[in-house]
């Protein structure tokens, strides 16, 4: 089953797992890297619930650990993957772009491109517009 040739597919990933607290975020990144290595397209990764913390540009893991945000950024830069962060889940948990920060009268922000704050409608679009949707959770 595993050796048979198959079509190139487009994937959307849905990530609920927080970075470093649970393996789910690492599993999602590993899966994305393996999918693009096989020639598939990972069109978008949608970060929801505690998964939004994957988008923090202030993430600073020890040097001997995988840098998850860096891993996601590489995926976006090398393979054109959209990194979509649920704005409602993000704002509740303190994830803000420069634009949202200004809107809320804050002095700092921690979300920058290629991570983009967006609505749940983008998750619906991702579900409708891709061949596969794979969820990674805590």
């Amino acid at each position: 089953m595993i050796d048979r040739p198959y079509d190139v597919l487009s994937y959307a990933l849905l990530v609920h797992a927080a970075p470093y607290s649970e393996q789910g975020a690492l599993s999602a990144l590993r899966f994305a890297q393996a999918a693009v290595a096989q020639g598939h397209r990972v069109s978008s990764v949608f970060f929801y619930r505690d998964g939004v913390h994957n988008a923090s540009m202030l993430m600073a893991p020890p040097q001997d650990e995988v840098h998850l945000a860096e891993g996601w950024r590489s995926l976006a830069q090398e393979h054109g993957t959209e990194l979509l962060v649920c704005v409602a889940a993000g704002l509740r948990r303190g994830l803000m772009s420069a634009e949202e920060s200004a809107r809320h009268g804050r002095e700092a922000h921690n979300v920058e491109p290629p991570f983009v704050l967006t609505g749940l409608g983008q998750l619906v679009d991702a579900m409708l517009g891709n061949d596969r949707v794979i969820t990674f959770a805590p």
Binding site: L120, G121, L123
Partner: protein, 133 residues
Amino acid sequence: MTDDETAPAADTQPISLDLLVILRHPPHGSSWLREGVDVALVAAAFGQAVGLLFQGDGVFALVEGQGAGPLGQKGTHAQLAMLEMYDIERLWVSASALRARGLTLADLALPALALEADEIDHLVHAQPRTLLF
């Protein structure tokens, strides 16, 4: 007397929606249920035909008499009251989940259909897209 479209027999046939959302978590203790229902509501607002399947502790989402929490947690009862407004009227519950928790359909605040295991299998396999929360 004539059969109408709300007859239970029609509801037990697998129906194909655009999206089935399976809810397995109870309200209040985590936001799984709340953020899962949010996805269902947004998908419905985007014109998708959405149904909900409650399994495990998710069936507690439908129990009558819920309210807000002491620190103002909204819970999900208000959200569930919005389902009909968004045309989310297909609600299924696991019959075994109800039995294991000493509940019956009469304990639920919204009309739902109880499904045995083989019916849940058929329901899930009839859907093009399923998300679980």
